[in-house]
Symmetry: C2
Subunit: 420 residues, 2 copies
C-alpha cells in the first residue's frame, strides 16, 4: 500500500502572503524521496477552529501529517494548547526540554530565562517529544486512527533539523513498502506543444505506474517521469530507467542534461571537470549571476568573482570601457559587452567570462532600445561570442532569464572548446 | 460581513517540492489588500478526484476561490475538462481566445499553430472567459452557491496579469463591505519573549477587532497589528493608527522602521534622501548584497556596483590587499575587510561602502576561524567601522544573515553621519 501524507502549515503570515511558504516544498521533497505520496497541502491561519478542522480532515485519511508553525513563545501561538485538547490529556513538564532551554539561555543567548520561555517546556501528555537541538520549541509526535501527526516549529532551520533528525528516521522505521521514483531531464529549443506531439506515442506506451509531466520554464522544459509502484522492488528502478533511456533518445536533438538541473549546474560541472575557471562582469543582472554561483558550496574551485559594473563609471574605471565607446554605442551594446567580457576575464585572471548589459525595466527604455534589450558576451582566450536577445517580463524575471541565457551561451562555448 | 477566500494550487510539482509556491503568497497579498480574509490554502496534485474534492470543499463555504495551475497544452493537464464536468455544460470554442492564439503564434512565437494549441481556445460553456493577454491559456470564472471560482494558469507572470487585470477589478465591483487593515513595524535588539513581556498590557487593552502578531527573523522582529473590521469605515484606519502609535512609542528603544520593510530598504531610503551613493566588496556573500540591491528598480541612483572578490587573487589585483596582509591575517580578518571597504569605496567612487569576508560553510572552517566567522566593514570618507559576528546556520542562511548584519552596520554609520 502506498503511504500518503498531508502537510499543514499554520500562520496568518502565510495566508496574507507576507511570507513565501518554502517549508512545504522542503517537506514535500523529503517525504517524496522516502516514497511517501504527498496528497495535499493545506495552509490555515492562527485560528483554533481552522486548525482543528484541518486535523479532523486529515486524521484517519493520511498515514502522515506534518504540521509546521504555530509554536513559539508569544501570544499569537495557539497550536500547542489546541493539540493538547484535540488529543486529550494535560500539559506536562518535559524535563529534557527544560534542561535544554536553560542551557541555551545560559550559554548561547546569554540572557535570563523568563516564565514565558519556561512554558515552552510544557507539552501535551499525549505526545512523544522530538528534541529540538537547534531551537527552543520542541517538536511533538501524536498518533491516532492510523495517522502520525508531527508538529514542528515554522522557523525553516529548526523545521529542517527536526525533519532530518527526528521525523524521517522515525518514518523509515515505521514505513510500509511503497516506492515513488522520479527521473527528470532537461531539453531546450522546442515548444511544449510540439514536444508533446512528438511524444504522443511514447506517452501511450508507458507502462501503468509511470507517467510523464512537462514542466516548461521560459525556453527550457523539464520532462519528468514518475513511477508510483505499489511495492518496493528492485525492478522498479530498472523499469523507470528503461523508459527514461527511451525518452532520452527520442528527445536527443533538444537534450541538455540528465536530472532536474539548471543550466548553471551543467556549465559549472564542465568547468570543474576540466579544471577551468570563470568570472563575470554584470551590469543589468547586478550580481545575480555571481550570487547564484556562490550559493553553491565549493564554487571557489571554478569561480573567481565578478565586477558588478552597475554605473558607467565602474565600466570605465575598472573594466577599461572607453568613454567614446559608451558615448557612441551606449552601455547596452555589442562593443561594450564584448569589452566587458574580455577585460573582466583578463583582470580576474580566468579561463572564461560572462558579461551582460541590458535594460531590465520597468523604466529606462528608449524607442531604439526598448525595455528588455539585452546584450550578452562570453569569452575565452581564443574567442568572444556575443548575442542580443529580448526579455519581455517583469524586472525580476528578466534578470533571471538573462542569467539563464548567459549560461546557455557559455555552455555553447564550452561545448565547442572542450568536447571537440 | 467579512468576505472569505480559499486558494487552491494544482500540480504534483508543488506537492513533491520541485517548485516553491510563490503564487499563493502573491494571491494572498492581493486578496488581503482588498480586505478579503484568506481562510485557507490548499495544494492538490494533478488528480481528478483530489481537485474535485477541493472544489466540493470550498463551494458554498467561501465567497472567493482562486485556482492556479493545471492549465496548459500538454497531457498532464486535467483541470479544464474537470471544471467543465464539475459545473456542467459542454466545451465550446471561445473565438476571441482563438484569434489571440493565432496572433501569438504568427507574430510572437513565429511558429505554426498545431491542433493541441487550438484546443486551448475551447472552454467550458459554464464559465466566463478572462482574456489572458500574456499567454495562451485563458482564465475562467465560474459561479455557483455563492462562490466565485477563478481558474488561472500557474505560470507566475500570467497568473499575476490575470489577478491584476481581471480578478481584482471584478472583485472590487462585487465586493461587500468589509475591511482588513495591517500595520507593521520593525524592531531590533530585543528577544521575542522579552518584548512580549513588555507588551502584555498593550495587548490586553487592544480593542476587539485588533490583534498583534510577532514575526521574528534572526535578531529582527516585525510587529504586525491587524484590524478585522466588519464594516468598511473611515474610522477603522484611525483606530488602527492610534494603536500603532501607542505601540511605536512603547518599543521606541528598539524601533528600526515603520512598515514591513527590510534593513536594506531602510538604508537605501536614507541614501536616496541625502543623495549619497554606495558600493560593495563581497567575498563570502558572493554578489548576494549587490543582487538584492539591484533587484529594486531605480537602484542605480544610489548603487554604483560591487567587486565580488571571491578569490584572493581578485582581492589583491583589484582591491590592493597586500599579499603579506593576506598571509599574516588570512582573508577573513579585520585588516583585510577594512582594506576591502576602503579600496572599493575609492575604486568605485562612492560615498559609502560595505565589505564582507567570512566562512559560510559547510566547509572551510578551522579551529581558530570556525565556519560562520564573518568580518564586516562599512566605510565613509571620514571613518571605517568593523565588526565580527558569528553565523550559525546553513550556507544560504549565513549569507542572508551576513547581508542583514552589514546593512545594520551601514545604518548605524549613516545615522551617525546624517542625522547628528
Amino acid at each position: 500500500m502506498v503511504s500518503t501524507a498531508a502537510i499543514i502549515t499554520i500562520g496568518n503570515e502565510l495566508l496574507i502572503g507576507q511570507i513565501v511558504d518554502t517549508n512545504s516544498a522542503y517537506i514535500g521533497q523529503q517525504l517524496t524521496q522516502l516514497g511517501i505520496d504527498v496528497k495535499t497541502r493545506l495552509a490555515v491561519g492562527d485560528t483554533a477552529d481552522d486548525i482543528t478542522h484541518a486535523l479532523q480532515q486529515t486524521e484517519g485519511k493520511y498515514q502522515v501529517v506534518i504540521l509546521t508553525g504555530g509554536l513559539g513563545p508569544t501570544a499569537d501561538d495557539v497550536t500547542k494548547p489546541l493539540l493538547n485538547n484535540y488529543f486529550g490529556g494535560q500539559m506536562v513538564l518535559h524535563t529534557p526540554t527544560l534542561t535544554h532551554l536553560e542551557h541555551i539561555f545560559a550559554h548561547v543567548l546569554k540572557r535570563p530565562m523568563i516564565e514565558r520561555n519556561r512554558l515552552q517546556a510544557m507539552v501535551p501528555s499525549a505526545c512523544e517529544v522530538m528534541m529540538n537541538d537547534v531551537g527552543t520549541a520542541p517538536g511533538m509526535r501524536f498518533y491516532r486512527n492510523g495517522t502520525y501527526f508531527f508538529s514542528l516549529p515554522g522557523v525553516p532551520f529548526e523545521m529542517q533539523f527536526l525533519m532530518t533528525n527526528r521525523v524521517l528516521p522515525f518514518l523509515k522505521e515505521q514505513r510500509i513498502g511503497t516506492e515513488i521514483l522520479h527521473k527528470t531531464l532537461l531539453v531546450q529549443g522546442i515548444g511544449e506543444s510540439f514536444l508533446a506531439d512528438e511524444l504522443v506515442e511514447f506517452e501511450q506506451q508507458l507502462p501503468k505506474p509511470i507517467s510523464l509531466a512537462y514542466l516548461p520554464n521560459h525556453g527550457l522544459i523539464r520532462l519528468r517521469l514518475t513511477g508510483k509502484f505499489e511495492q518496493k522492488n528492485s525492478s522498479n528502478t530498472a523499469l523507470l530507467e528503461q523508459q527514461y533511456q527511451q525518452l532520452r533518445s527520442q528527445v536527443q536533438r533538444y537534450f541538455v542534461a540528465d536530472g532536474d538541473v539548471s543550466l548553471q549546474k551543467v556549465v559549472t560541472d564542465v568547468l570543474l571537470k576540466y579544471g577551468k575557471t570563470m568570472c563575470t562582469a554584470e551590469s543589468c543582472t547586478g550580481g545575480f549571476i555571481a550570487s547564484n554561483i556562490t550559493q553553491v558550496a565549493g564554487s571557489s574551485a571554478y569561480y573567481n568573482g565578478s565586477v558588478v559594473c552597475y554605473s558607467n563609471n565602474v565600466k570605465q574605471q575598472v573594466l577599461q570601457v572607453p568613454e567614446a565607446m559608451l558615448a557612441q554605442h551606449g552601455a547596452v551594446s555589442e562593443p561594450v559587452v564584448k569589452q566587458l567580457a574580455e577585460q573582466v576575464r583578463i583582470l580576474l585572471d580566468s579561463d572564461y567570462s560572462i558579461a551582460v548589459s541590458g535594460i531590465m525595466g520597468p523604466d529606462g527604455g528608449t524607442p531604439e532600445k526598448p525595455v528588455g534589450t539585452v546584450w550578452v558576451a562570453v569569452s575565452s582566450s581564443s574567442q568572444t561570442m556575443t548575442h542580443q536577445f529580448h526579455a519581455r517580463f517583469s524586472r525580476a524575471k528578466n534578470i533571471e532569464l538573462t542569467a539563464q541565457f548567459a549560461f546557455g551561451m557559455l555552455r555553447k562555448l564550452l561545448l565547442k572548446e572542450m568536447v571537440n
